[in-house]
């Protein structure tokens, strides 16, 4: 029958290995279930699970179980040792030396060495692999990385080398305060050269794939499922409790919800608008977690945009007239937070300044100020009639929001709106080439730092679809790259954005999930939701 073992024994084992900070850590009094499996839902097939190729969040969740980088994140998102146990930084902040764990093994039993990291990074930057995420290495400012990507220098010139099997040296060109944090990203994970060269592109298939993570790939059916099982070769395998992790690909979120309710899933996303109901029905299971993304509207400030939007007062009025509290509480209803600037409240080391334009007013005051500004600019009620087209990518959620915002603009400002929707690719094309008036946008952080959000309105940003240009803002962002204390600079940038309104920030995302209450060890406190199966476990039903 059941062979439940109590926690006293397993805790003792944990203490003995001295790995308390790393593996799964059941609390006292918890009894582990016999069923150590975790099944979760993903929206769509993973574009790739090859660490060098991974480009999406779900793919990186899988790669994080199958591979282990130099550094990991703890439950709060702080950096902790991974394959590297110690590291030093040179005085100028440009050279990092990592000392690797001697007991780290690939799932085929081979040791993990510094050469594996060198190979993986060179491979990720190489024009031959043509990874869609090679730019991440550019973001890390690794020496010569741009030339390597452009094919102007051989991959051997990349600023990473193995001093010996256990020592890795990385040279970067600009000191980056968040460099270590960037090493928790899957693009920097090692890959086994011999296996990649033997199987080519097919090395990611079950049976071929060799990893150094706590799990190995055991089954993968495109568009159906991906199964990972515990890797006995993992250096800390004795502290890994969860035996099997299954990702089920379920495109339809309502279908996924039904299957969660039927007990087929341990975790799924909550469809928009259903969070309050599910929270009331299942308070132990429904969670609203901060998500490092911001929802906003681009305003076309380029030549092709409407004349009215070039007037800062009009932009301010449009921003003020949006009742964000109403949208967040009544339309979205999932723990989202109103946004007045682009700097995310949950981002590490950032504080949203409390004097952002419009933030401290009540909605009545905002509406009055908006009306005053619009009148001064000579548009809307009593002035020149103004009609704006809101463009969004086809989705009910975006439409709901656009309708609500259109009504607010009509009621408060007398501005008419028309709605236009396009399928995703056509939408990106239109917005990127400034063929719109007002367009919906969303942005998620590449790394847990405020510049990941604030950079998007700099003149040179590829994502500056508003075609905004402010030399002061550009200079501040440049200064922040090397500044000791970045917070005041970032806050100043956020103030400029709120006041000059190149984009209308609307809300900060929240991720609403249902999690089976018997699953423990999920990092609810990590704003990036970077979870590690090896810290998770299932307790027996009481």
């Amino acid at each position: 029958m059941t062979t439940r073992f109590t926690l006293a024994a397993s805790l003792a084992a944990l203490v003995a290995t001295g790995a308390l900070a790393q593996g799964a850590m059941p609390a006292e009094g918890e009894t582990l279930s016999d069923n150590q499996t975790f099944t979760y839902r993903v929206l769509d097939e993973f574009p790739s699970i090859d660490p060098g190729m991974v480009e999406d969040v779900e793919g990186s969740h899988v790669a994080r179980q199958l591979f282990e980088g130099l550094l990991n994140q703890d439950a709060e998102g702080n950096v902790i040792p991974g394959v590297a146990t110690e590291w030093e930084v040179s005085e100028d902040g440009l050279t990092y030396t990592f000392h690797l764990r001697p007991e780290a093994r690939w799932s085929n039993g081979e040791p993990v060495t510094a050469h594996d990291f060198v190979y993986a990074w060179q491979r990720a930057a190489s024009p031959e692999l043509a990874s869609p995420y090679s730019w991440y290495l550019e973001l890390m400012q690794i020496e010569n990385v741009s030339e390597v990507i452009a094919g102007e220098r051989p991959v051997e010139d990349l600023g990473v080398r193995a001093i010996d099997d256990r020592t890795l040296e990385v040279r970067i060109t600009t000191p980056l305060p968040y460099f270590l944090q960037m090493l928790t990203h899957t693009t920097t994970f090692p890959v086994p050269r011999a296996v990649v060269e033997e199987h080519g592109a097919a090395w990611t298939q079950p049976g071929n794939m060799v990893g150094n993570g706590a799990y190995v790939l055991s089954e993968r059916v495109p568009q159906e499922r991906l199964v990972m099982t515990k890797n006995p070769e993992y250096w800390d395998a004795e502290n890994v409790i969860l035996e099997e992790i299954t990702a089920l690909i379920i495109n339809d979120e309502n279908q996924a919800l039904t299957r969660y309710l039927a007990g087929e899933l341990d975790q799924t996303d909550i469809p928009i608008g259903q969070y309050p109901r599910l929270l009331a029905e299942r308070p132990d299971e429904a969670h609203a977690l901060p998500n490092l993304c911001v929802y906003y509207y681009n305003l076309n400030l380029s030549e092709s945009g409407p004349e009215a939007l070039k007037d800062q007062r009009v932009r301010q009025a449009l921003s003020l007239a949006i009742d964000r509290d109403l949208l967040v509480e009544n339309v979205l209803a999932g723990g989202q937070v109103p946004a007045y600037g682009l700097g995310h409240w949950a981002v590490a080391g950032y504080e949203v300044p409390d004097d952002l334009f419009g933030m401290t007013m009540t909605q009545e005051e905002r509406n009055a100020e908006a009306q005053r500004l619009m009148q001064e600019a000579g548009y809307g009620t009593g002035g020149e009639p103004l009609t704006l087209e809101i463009l969004y990518n086809t989705s009910d959620a975006h439409q709901q929001l656009a309708v609500a915002i259109g009504q607010m603009w009509k009621q408060t400002l007398g501005v008419d709106t028309t709605l236009a929707n396009m399928e995703w690719q056509t939408f990106l094309d239109a917005r990127g080439s400034q063929q719109y008036e007002v367009a919906r946008a969303g942005w998620c952080a590449d790394y847990n730092e405020a510049s990941s959000f604030l950079d998007i309105v700099t003149t040179s940003s590829g994502y500056n679809d508003s075609a905004f240009s402010n030399p002061e803002l550009d200079a501040l962002m440049l200064e922040a790259r090397t500044a000791e204390d970045t917070l005041p600079l970032y806050q100043q940038v956020d103030r400029i954005i709120a006041e000059q309104v190149p984009v209308i920030p609307i809300y900060f995302y929240s991720s609403n999930i249902l999690m089976d209450p018997s699953i423990r060890g999920y990092p609810f406190e990590n704003a990036q939701e970077n979870w590690y199966g090896r810290t998770m476990y299932r307790v027996a039903e009481q």
Binding site: M53, A130, N251, Q425, T426
Partner: protein, 307 residues
């Protein structure tokens, strides 16, 4: 007969080539591309990717290379979006899935559709006819994207009899709901066509003669009426069979079967050029093949038709 088949197969080659050309033109005419995302890639990265997938070549060269690789190596190229797979991998994985649930859905739809139609026609204007016609209409107005979630709520959530999705290599529990959801509307259509064509045949002269001779009704229906009445159904079944075995985006999306039906929509939305082409050619070839099969069956059923 043999020369007819040969001729039809020869005509299929230019047909497929034209299909490829039209698909290519439409594909490249659509804005965006497989590597456009919300976050525009730096030019150097984009250039590497385009070089790797040959997208830096002129369209005509791309099309030529594409056809060349298919003819010489039967190679449909790598998927541009699902980078761990080639198009052949995806089709080899997904086509048996849709073939399985599509085939069973076809069997169910034809068996029950024909039976329902025949019964309704024989018992014309009785309660049995009304019941059969009524349920056929009911099934046809219930689209599968409404039916699929209802089935899962009833059989998975409430009753707990069947899994709510997945495939698991085609174990029967996973096949039942997709088959039910897919077959319903086809079943209804077949029943309606069968009923009206059966009614027409039953009112024709040779049946009246047979009845006047005193033949039993059962014999008249089976021996004389069924075959000619099946002809209109048959011309419907050819394209329907192809549509069913190549799957349905609704079934794949709602039941996570991993079939190829979803690629018709997803690959177009993602501009996954190679997958769009792969599934288009597959469906094109199957359509040509099964239209030919229907024509042969026609000749077999109706001796008046000469091939």
């Amino acid at each position: 007969m043999l020369s007819f088949i040969l001729r039809r197969l020869l005509v299929a080659i230019p047909t497929i080539l034209i299909l490829i050309v039209i698909s290519f033109v439409l594909m490249f005419a659509a804005p965006g591309g497989p590597f456009n995302s919300e976050r525009p890639l730096p030019p150097a990265v984009m250039a590497n990717i385009e070089a790797r997938y040959g997208l830096d070549q002129p369209y005509v060269v791309q099309m030529f290379n594409y056809v060349k690789n298919i003819v010489l190596h039967f190679d449909f190229g790598p998927s541009f979006r699902l980078r761990d797979y080639t198009v052949s991998d995806l089709i080899a994985q997904g086509f048996p899935v849709t073939l399985t649930y599509g085939f069973w859905a076809f069997v169910v739809a034809v068996t029950f559709g024909v039976a329902l139609g025949v019964v309704a026609a024989i018992r014309h204007n009785t309660w049995l006819d009304y019941l059969a016609t009524g349920s056929a209409i009911g099934a046809s107005v219930l689209p599968n994207f409404v039916l699929a979630p209802i089935l899962v709520i009833v059989f998975t959530l409430w009753l707990g009899w069947l899994p709510g999705g997945g495939w698991r290599g085609g174990q029967w529990q996973y096949v039942v709901l997709p088959v039910v959801a897919l077959s319903t509307s086809y079943l209804a259509a077949i029943a309606r066509i069968m009923r009206s064509s059966m009614l027409e045949v039953l009112n024709s002269g040779f049946i009246r003669t047979a009845r006047a001779k005193g033949l039993p009704m059962r014999r008249i229906v089976w021996k004389h009426a069924l075959k000619p009445a099946l002809l209109p159904v048959l011309s419907y079944l050819g394209p329907a069979f192809v549509a069913m075995i190549t799957g349905s985006v609704v079934i794949d999306v709602y039941f996570s079967t991993g079939g190829i039906g979803q690629y018709f929509v997803n690959s177009a939305l993602n501009r996954d050029y190679s997958v769009i082409m792969g599934v288009t050619i597959l469906v094109g070839a199957l359509t040509i093949l099964f239209n030919l099969v229907v024509d042969i069956l026609y000749a077999w059923i109706d001796p008046k038709i000469r091939l």
